[in-house]
Symmetry: C2
């Protein structure tokens, strides 16, 4: 009956914070014309196992009383991208392209639990997928939509401000091939771990793939290229490589930087070490971190993929960003003190004089609810002092006494006034629980 | 890449219907002071296997690359009651009792797929749990809250109206023990299947538990007791049984009927065959069906349980009702034609004159979004006719041309007017997709 490590659960106030964050993201995504979908929690293991590295973390699922010797054929999805790609190719005939969707769901990974890593975690993803083609301007669009969502989380909930790092796979692969590296993927996956394992760790991984010391120096130097001013081109030129892939990468990453920085001038950086380890990215890549909470790592990431989904007849190029809801909220709620002003939705407790009079309290509640005011009737008819204490413990701001024409007490100020449940005015701020930002006491 | 039987997924319009249903239920539950919680998807198999009958349907979960020979220790939860009971005993120190929560989440059962049964399905549960004690008036409360939710689904979405059948375990057990049946549970579980397997099927099950023909006649006759008028008492008296349990049952079921029928006079029936197969119910039991859609079976059910949760020190008596969201929505959407007026949230498509002018369209979109109007910018700068067709295919009602001071066309009427994005008024009904009720064409 104890908690299971890596499967976080919120108490009611934390859950309220989580719902508010989800409501904000949903609202931003819908304002930008993204449609909600949900995919089933399981996928065939054959689909889940195609993406290399991550295979070992899959949770397999099978009927407990399946015939002995039956192998698992399904696993819980470990992200929302693979299921979305499958959804698109399965339902393509019923979708209109470019298809813009958001998806807010849990995913599962059988990782060893560690700081900031969970085995069940919520993600909020947006993607735009085209049929056969998808304009490059959508790369900037998804980046801007996610920045808008992060900005709303900051302004409405006090979630720390974000920094977006951008790069382009064409730039990386163009440079690596120009340096004579035939298979860039293992190098990309090594450099992707730079923040985690440091330069010496990366060099060790490069040793293992047979990259010599001289080339390692250049790879490490290139990973150091970054700029907030869009002057990436000259830094890249210093490596003396020229090819079409590199030129496309330089042009695209600068165009992306230019568009995003118009709206978020101090919050976007070109950073050549950003690569994303997954092999399906083919162009722009993004990573977002929380300013002042860099130890939480990358809280949102994504990029362009030209070949993830395909149904034989059509390819479905896409671009998307994933936001780690649990990754952000679990530490901010459990350690950062992000919370809500009360642990129940009720704004009013209706006191009960005696069990015979309970129906009168129910009448008051019905009138208030018809006016959109959340309330609950006292579970017992104890002395008023005890009923007020019941409200206090839950953070309910008002207690109602008597009938529909009765009295209402603001238990914070102690002020008690005559009131008619049909007409009583409640402050907007008291109508639903409020977010208490990080570091401010309730 | 094909659909997996029993794991339903909605297209965007169906998902919109589902979200609207969830929003309505959430709103009703919060108006009644219920707090949202979510529990993790997995529980220890030892917890899940305690409840008998259902064990065979559990999906076991384990890391795909767990050491060979490792047994599964976790399973996906098959309802939201067991995880909630665990949540309460685990977090009791941080909760205030009586604790009122709602929970809207998927659950999983490894059933053979059949009409109306799913292997992954969404439920919406409400429960009120007390510490050591919980007043009987909460039984009527949860019944009324669920009836309120069903009524809102009917009024706002055209979901068919419901009928609630109520009974009481004390009445059943009192009668059975009065008839000389020592272990009533197998009899309860047999009678619970009456609607599914008919009288002869029930008699076969009773044969197997050694109940003689004479007693079977009485059991079947008792299962026929039902009343919309609250005259259950005389029907029960005709069996000539008297004991404390029976008296409590008669009193409680009549009190519950009286309270619920005050608000829903023609929608609540006392029905002695309603028992719920699960062994944890100890008092009131409820079942809800859709009027005119009785073939969908029970779409919502619940009851009183005095001993489900316990942490050694305290017992946590509770009462709750579960609503089968997938059970209702999947057939109504896939066969009943319940749908939405468009497949995207966007109310406006902003036309693009040329790729060089795309930024002007983006400016219009930004102004509209700041005013809470969902919109999207055309993915290309094709001829206006093609861009209008793009909007039509998605059901987007308006297309905007030009700059912030531009023109807007209602593509249904063809009317086009000069408009300023800062001031243009959109009808509320066009702001977000509307539900198209069952049987009415789009």
């Amino acid at each position: 009956m104890a908690s299971i490590s890596g499967f976080p659960e919120f108490l009611p106030q934390g859950r309220f914070v989580e719902m508010r964050a989800i409501d904000i993201m949903r609202s931003v995504f819908e304002l930008h014309g993204f449609t909600s979908i949900q995919t089933r929690s399981i996928e065939p293991l054959s689909e889940l196992s195609r993406k290399g590295e991550i295979t070992k973390e899959i949770y397999a699922v099978r009927r407990l009383h399946a015939d002995a010797g039956t192998e698992e054929t399904w696993g819980l999805h470990y992200d929302l991208t693979i299921p979305f790609a499958r959804y698109v190719s399965e339902h393509a005939g019923h979708l209109s392209f470019p298809f813009r969707r958001y998806q807010i769901q849990p995913a599962w990974r059988g990782e060893r639990p560690q700081e900031g890593r969970f085995r069940e975690f919520w993600q909020a993803d947006i993607d735009i997928v085209g049929q056969s083609e998808l304009g490059f301007h959508h790369d900037a669009e998804v980046a801007l939509v996610m920045m808008d969502a992060c900005t709303q989380l900051h302004q409405q909930m006090g979630i720390p401000p974000v920094l977006m790092r951008i790069n382009n796979r064409a730039l990386i692969e163009g440079l690596y091939t120009g340096l004579g590296i035939d298979d860039p993927l293992p190098v990309i996956q090594a450099v992707d771990k730079l923040a985690k394992i440091g330069e010496s760790g990366v060099r060790k991984m490069l040793d293992a793939t047979g990259v010599d010391k001289d080339l390692q120096d250049k790879i490490v130097a290139f990973a150091g290229v970054n700029s907030t001013r869009g002057d990436v081109e000259e830094q890249v030129r210093s490596f003396g490589v020229t090819n079409d892939l590199l030129e496309r990468g330089v042009r695209d990453v600068m165009a992306l930087h230019s568009t995003v920085s118009q709206s978020y001038p101090s919050q976007v950086v070109v950073d050549a070490k950003i690569a994303r380890g997954l092999d399906y990215y083919t162009g722009s890549v993004f990573e977002i971190e929380l300013q002042g909470y860099e130890t939480l790592g990358t809280i949102s990431a994504g990029g362009r993929y030209d070949h993830l989904a395909s149904d034989g007849k059509n390819a479905y190029p896409g671009v998307g960003v994933s936001f780690g809801l649990s990754r952000v909220l679990v530490p901010l709620i459990s350690q950062g003190g992000l919370t809500a002003s009360r642990c129940v939705p009720s704004a009013v407790l209706i006191a009960v004089d005696s069990e015979e009079e309970r129906h009168k309290a129910e009448e008051v509640a019905t009138v208030l609810r018809e006016r959109g005011i959340s309330c609950e009737v006292s579970p017992n008819s104890a002395k008023y002092g005890k009923q007020i204490h019941f409200a206090q413990r839950r953070g309910i701001p008002y207690v109602w006494f008597g009938s529909v024409q009765g009295q209402v007490k603001d238990i914070r100020s102690g002020e008690q006034i005559d009131a008619d449940a049909h007409r009583w005015i409640i402050d907007d701020i008291d109508l639903s629980p409020q977010i208490i930002p990080i570091g401010r006491n309730c």
